[in-house]
Symmetry: C3
Subunit: 137 residues, 3 copies
């Protein structure tokens, strides 16, 4: 079994931002030399998410608006008693999951139409990291 | 390490539908010959989900009703400016995740009581696909 | 490829409870002897979840409160026609996912700051199980 590990550094200019990282995942796959297996793409912070969805900014805004309604910024979350102000970002992370697994077949991602890999930042403007871990043959 | 890949074709008659695909996953496991490892079951479209939950239509309807409240069909989502009308289905996919990993131990799924594998369609009446990717020994 | 399987037995005293299980995952990792790979941590019941988030009880309460609003206990869910009363717990499981994958690099979990593994019980006061399955080299 082969394995390969890569880290992406991300520092968004806005507090909320969605970034298509499919190309970075493809680079990691090429570097790994793995042709059959699985790639884990996982946020290393608990205020960001990773989704597989459409490369279409309209649906990105729709999703961010829905999440703002379900877990709004601002309320006096108990988490803020620790001095933090990003409770909403934790909750959005919990609702939408922080990681995906990409299947690898014959050296390529085994995606359906429209599937792209998205990094979803809920509490940006600072250094964040993402791990891309590939295992297989 | 062994790997095995199988695709399911799904074409529901209704726009929303939940289908128990545990048997199809068991067939893929038998074909793979893998006795220790992990199976990824992942929708290849971004308007469907895969859950591990109860084979009980009452809770399926409860879940669909909750999701209709959280991400209702109909509103003029920004995504619809592209000509699409399925924004709600993307949002339901994002909220409930599009994939699961099934643990494989001694040639069987290492499930607890009541765990079954469900394909959850949010935008049906057309050809969809699902990937079942198994790795292990 | 090596694989290792461990089960945790959990029996909470309250119906809702969050338990930090990072240490138990570390023990499983040490037992496995695996230094590069992935660990699946997955609830074996469909009324519990596994999250990677902060070891901070304030945000745990915030998350439980949000989930109580999105999937409240009490309403006459269709699932209750089967004699059950835990429909809300199924829905919370569906919204927040029942499993995570932990990346393993150089014999350790490849976590960012603040990442811990949490078992999240939505319907406790009875015996539950969790599977920890590790594959790699």
């Amino acid at each position: 079994m082969k394995s390969h590990t890569k880290y992406l550094k991300i520092h968004t200019t806005k507090s909320r931002e969605i970034i298509n990282i499919t190309r970075e995942c493809e680079s990691a796959l090429a570097e790994s030399g793995i042709t059959e297996g699985m790639m884990l793409v996982s946020a290393m912070h608990i205020t960001a998410a990773v989704w597989v969805n459409d490369n279409e900014p309209g649906i990105w805004q729709d999703a961010m608006q829905m999440l703002e309604e379900l877990a709004p910024e601002g309320p006096d979350y108990r988490h803020h008693h620790t001095g933090e102000d990003n409770g909403h970002a934790h909750l959005k992370n919990i609702l939408t999951h922080h990681q995906v697994i990409l299947p690898i077949t014959q050296g390529q991602f085994d995606f359906g139409p429209w599937q792209t890999v998205l990094y979803v930042e809920f509490d940006g403007r600072r250094d964040k990291r993402l791990i891309i871990k590939t295992i297989g043959d």
